[in-house]
Amino acid sequence: MPHLKTAYTKYQNDPSVAFLLISIDEDAKRLQRYLDEMKFPFPVARAVAAQAEQAMGFDNIPATFYVDRSGIVRYQLGGIESHGDSPSRVSWFIDQLKSR
């Protein structure tokens, strides 16, 4: 998750881009401890794990979706090794969608 904080610095003043983290934690205390530690500069919401997995069709976390201006998912990343979790990779996806 720290890579999202780094990537976000590029877009924090850009009104056309939004980041949203959605936690599927069941244990609210543990989640709060994690958030206190991470101090994410963008919003964090919660969803029920089973509902989120079913609606979004992922079976492992983290699962990342890049959505374009018209609400269409354009990129989806999941799994472990291939997570694409470098800040430059995150901003590559976002810049692709911004330029559409």
Binding site: N60, F65, G71, Y75, Q76
Partner: protein
């Protein structure tokens, strides 16, 4: 009066059904079975046996207490026990309920009082550390590991060490470690037999603890890893026996299960292809292996052997140097793997999903409309 009788008949029926399901053994025996299963971390079987024992007045207090202790472990402490396991908060209230039931059955039971105090403290704590590794399991692991370098020890001692460790905790690790030790000693047939037993043990251990994985992707990954580890060990032992066809079947099976992303398995497939005089195929496997990096990148000595084997293979194309060619091939493979990870919801509208704020109020998503959005689902575990 009549309804009272009906109720009693009904209760008797339930107890009979449960006793039949559990093999018609008396409560005391179920309690012992439950304890033994739990010692091996076979959770489902332990819970089933203890639930039967908890219905008999003679064993109720003991059985409820042990159920409570199991649920404490599952709820707060199981995180580091086995790869892929996470705490299950849904068991926390059940832990306290079982311990209260134990004390209802026997208010003087001090061990249940202690367990309940522990559960209450965990419930109030901000953070509970995972259970430390068990000393008896650690000692048996160390004993088995010591045979890696004890080349003169009798093979029967190695097998005995595998069995002793497997008896202490029912996970597949001793079978896989043991099979590797036996391969290193040239005991290929015994290695194959041990690895084959490891497959069934791995599947069962995951079945018995399925809810600890929390997500189907994690449990499926764990099943696949167990089966792939065994298939690779068996395939490699067959290769060393010069049974190339048999080796290919098993090494390919491991490659399917790991989606071609296990370093050792790809290296083994490279060695097999080279022995079979198939340089093209050997090159693909060595390159696949070397394109894996970081945690899945394999140990440096094996990486070096793969690189040397690759350099010795005849090469097509007119690249200026081996190093430049290798770098281009590896980065092409890494990019292809990243592209393959993009999937499923792509080009479809973002589905509707109920989302709340951290403290449980509905989350207003209207401010996100019309923006480029990055959405990441995560958990703190």
């Amino acid at each position: 009066m009549r309804s009272m009788q009906t109720l009693r008949v009904f209760t008797t029926c339930i107890v009979l059904v449960a006793a039949t399901a559990a093999g018609q053994t008396p409560a005391r025996e179920q309690l012992a079975r439950g304890r033994a299963f739990w010692d091996q971390r076979l959770s489902k079987s332990a819970i089933a046996a203890l639930e039967v024992a908890a219905r008999d007045r003679a064993t109720a207090a003991e059985a409820h207490e042990l159920l409570g202790r199991i649920y404490i472990f599952k709820g707060w402490q199981q995180e580091a026990t086995f790869p892929g396991w996470h705490d299950e908060p849904s068991y926390r209230a059940r832990a306290i309920a079982e311990l209260k039931a134990a004390l209802a059955a026997d208010p003087t039971r001090t061990s249940a009082q202690e367990a309940l105090r522990m559960a209450d403290a965990f419930a109030a704590a901000d953070k509970v550390d995972p259970a430390p590794p068990r000393d008896e399991v650690k000692a048996l692991d160390a004993k088995l590991e010591s045979f890696r370098t004890a080349a003169s020890a009798p093979v029967d001692d190695v097998v005995a060490a595998i069995d002793a460790r497997a008896k202490a905790q029912a996970d597949p690790a001793p079978y896989f470690t043991g099979a590797q030790i036996l391969i290193d000693r040239g005991e290929h047939d015994r290695a194959i037999a041990i690895a084959e037993r490891g497959v069934a043990v791995s599947d069962r251990f995951i079945d018995e603890n399925l809810s600890a994985y929390q997500m189907s992707g994690k449990s499926e990954g764990s099943y696949a890893r167990g089966r792939a580890t065994a298939a690779d060990l068996i395939g490699w032992a067959r290769f060393l026996k010069n049974d190339y066809a048999g080796a290919a079947a098993k090494l390919d099976e491991a490659a399917r299960l790991t989606e071609g992303q296990d370093f050792t398995n790809q290296f083994h497939l490279g060695e097999l292809a080279r022995a079979q005089n198939a340089p093209e195929r050997a090159r693909e496997h060595y390159l696949n292996a070397l394109s894996l990096t970081g945690f899945s990148g394999g140990p440096p000595p094996l990486r070096q052997r793969a690189t040397q084997a690759l350099a010795a293979l005849p090469r097509s194309g007119s690249e200026p140097s081996f190093d430049a060619w290798l770098e281009a091939e590896l980065s092409r493979r890494r990019e292809a793997r990243k592209a393959a990870a993009l999937k499923s919801l792509v080009d479809r509208p973002l589905p509707k999903l109920d989302v709340t704020t951290i403290d449980g109020r509905p989350y207003d998503t209207s401010s996100l409309r019309g923006k480029v959005l990055l959405l990441t689902f995560f958990a703190s575990w």
